[in-house]
Symmetry: C2
Subunit: 359 residues, 2 copies
DNA sequence: GGATAGGATGTTCACGGTAACAACAAAGAA
DNA sequence: TTCTTTGTTGTTACCGTGAACATCCTATCC
């Protein structure tokens, strides 16, 4: 020790004053190591301004006490929380969790922590969750919803942090946007099926009633219908029924109506629903794709496993998450002057065997 | 205003001193509403000690400024962060995310926020992630792994917060435990298949090599093998191959070996792997269950959709998450004297049609 | 030898809230 | 009337850390 610190030592180290808990703080470490709190702080943050000998003494004290720095206190002082907020409709969708996964991967390396909230497709939850997230002072926020509320926008504005909207590319982005067009997904699906020569092209999606709303699915249907109209076809075979999030059961339940309507090719709003259709068809002795062609969206793993393998539309959600992470890092590391980015990660049809060539 | 506050007003409200950012703070609200910061704090927390007239004035100021309280600052002072930490192996497993979902649901109502970290089945990540979590000062922590490291235990101890281990019931719980026995899963599966009269009973699981380890799957295999031995059967037909987390491809890839070994009933470590087996069998013209009976674990939704529907073992992960949430709330609300709980949520065989009755 | 530069460490104060307690007014009790 | 109680609001002092700046020491240079 080159110098004696003037930091006052408590008469009894065990005597805790005020509101403090029993957890070791930076002060305990500093006393044990015989240095100032600031020196400990420097060691903890790996600032490399400290003599190796001192550093080792501090590290030993940290290990002895099982000290873990309090990031809440740290961020209060430094104005950097190391949080990135992420708002999702649900955790139980493989594509969203793939995006979250890609995001986390990139940010983890930079010592950022994702703060995840999800709304279960409920609009009311959105504002509540947003407030909760912002209260943690994230350095940036990633949204998947279409934030509508006036109060929500006000809060986002006051928060004054970078905003990235992912998954669906909004027409009027709040800040940056990385994703793809669900509208184009619908158009692409319709174009693909029409191109195969089908006469009775239908689609199945959830209906949007009450508080639970799936904008993304509805966008896909809009695109699908527009493409149908443009080709001079009727949109009567587009069926909306059941609530988001749709799953296997959704598709299975709609098979009777598909038969009723004599549909020969159907686009399902999600691969899960499409798989449900295929499996239910097997039970009814309806051959896929001979009697009914089925196309999905999302390229969920299960689609590539079933018989026949599912034709679908692929979007690389993990890459989407990773790109978001990279942009995020640029933004929080000072490149605040970056003009609003709008990145379309695109989509592509994966042709497998659940769609035949007709006519 | 009944009294004039002595809180010093800045000469120029816009002039920011020190390190502060542009975001409105409780002080800005207090000035605008003409009350003390403490009064604002009471209104924000809904403490109902404030005159309605004053409360309204404060609410208006909050709305005007778009003020969102800083929870980091609040928790530093109150010693309550409102965080519950959750460590998972992965987010992309439907059962784990169901548990996370159930947990979040319960805690959300009590204004707690889940802080999620996941390790991707890597041991090295575990300690790093644990440190990151503890740095946020969660009021309790929920673990799914088997924490091994000495340092990890030291940190957990120093954190001095309730610990709940979920999913797998450990032999020596650190604190509380809610879950089921993966060992029993294996035994139950073996018993079920043996009870059906099969002669060549096998199983497929991941192998545990390198840093990536799936304790849970291995436990199931241990139980399976023990039951086999106890029945005087050979365990030669238990195949370990591929890394956790296993998915559809795992099962599909192992079908040739199942044929090779003339296995007539197989237990897959996970439904996903089992579904892979079933689908691949269809491609090879192997009939399920006539030629090969298949049993899975986890009761994933897809299992109830495929043909034939998958016989499996069900554990109610969502309920598991909810019960964890309820216990958590008891623990953080003062019931610290609660003796260590050990709750077995049990498991049950779901008989469907992928397993036949033999001999 | 004295001035200067730079490395290692220390001190002070602010970050944005809240616990604890104090102060004061109005209403009720003795 | 005076004392006590109750309800509302304010003041003070922290919570644990980091930014900014200060200080001390050693090495180097002319």
């Amino acid at each position: 020790m080159r110098r004696t610190t003037k930091e006052k030592a408590a008469a009894t180290p065990t005597a805790r004053r005020g509101r403090s808990t029993g957890r070791p703080t930076i002060r305990d470490v500093s006393r044990l190591a015989g240095v100032s709190r600031m020196t400990v702080s420097r060691v903890v943050r790996g600032l490399d301004l400290v003599l190796p000998e001192t550093r080792d003494r501090v590290h030993k004290a940290i290990a002895d006490l099982g000290y873990v720095p309090d990031r809440a206190a740290g961020s209060l002082s430094s104005r950097r929380t190391g949080f990135i907020a992420l708002m999702l409709p649900t955790l139980t969708n493989a594509n969203f969790s793939a995006a979250a996964h890609g995001l986390t991967e990139v940010l983890r390396a930079a010592d950022y922590h994702m703060l995840i909230a999800y709304t279960d497709y409920s609009i009311d939850e959105e504002e509540r969750q947003l407030r909760n997230l912002l209260a943690r002072r994230p350095e940036a926020i990633v949204l998947t919803g279409w934030l509508k509320g006036r109060m929500a926008s006000r809060m986002l504005l006051a928060a004054d942090i970078p905003v990235i909207e992912i998954a669906d590319l909004p027409r009027q982005p709040i800040g940056h946007a990385i994703g793809f067009s669900n509208y184009e997904v619908g158009r692409t699906a319709a174009r693909h099926l029409l191109g195969k020569g089908f006469q009775h092209v239908g689609a199945i999606a959830g209906s949007n009633e009450g508080d639970v709303i799936d904008h993304r699915g509805e966008e896909r249907m809009r695109g699908f219908e527009d493409e149908l109209r443009q080709a001079g076809r009727s949109t009567d075979l587009v069926i909306r029924q059941g609530n988001a999030p749709v799953s296997y059961g959704h598709g299975a339940a709609l098979v009777p109506r598909l038969i009723d309507k004599k549909i020969d090719a159907v686009f399902a709003v999600s691969d899960l629903s499409a798989v449900g259709v295929v499996m239910e068809c097997q039970r009814h002795g309806i051959r896929v794709p001979e009697d009914l062609s089925v196309m999905g969206f999302g390229d969920f793993e299960i689609g590539s496993v079933i018989n026949p393998r599912l034709t679908t539309i692929h979007v690389d959600f993990k890459a989407l998450g990773q790109r978001t992470g990279q942009l995020l890092l640029q933004l929080v590391n000072g490149e605040t002057t970056l003009p609003p980015q709008r990145i379309d990660v695109g989509l592509r049809v994966i042709e497998r065997t659940s769609v035949r060539t007709a006519g």
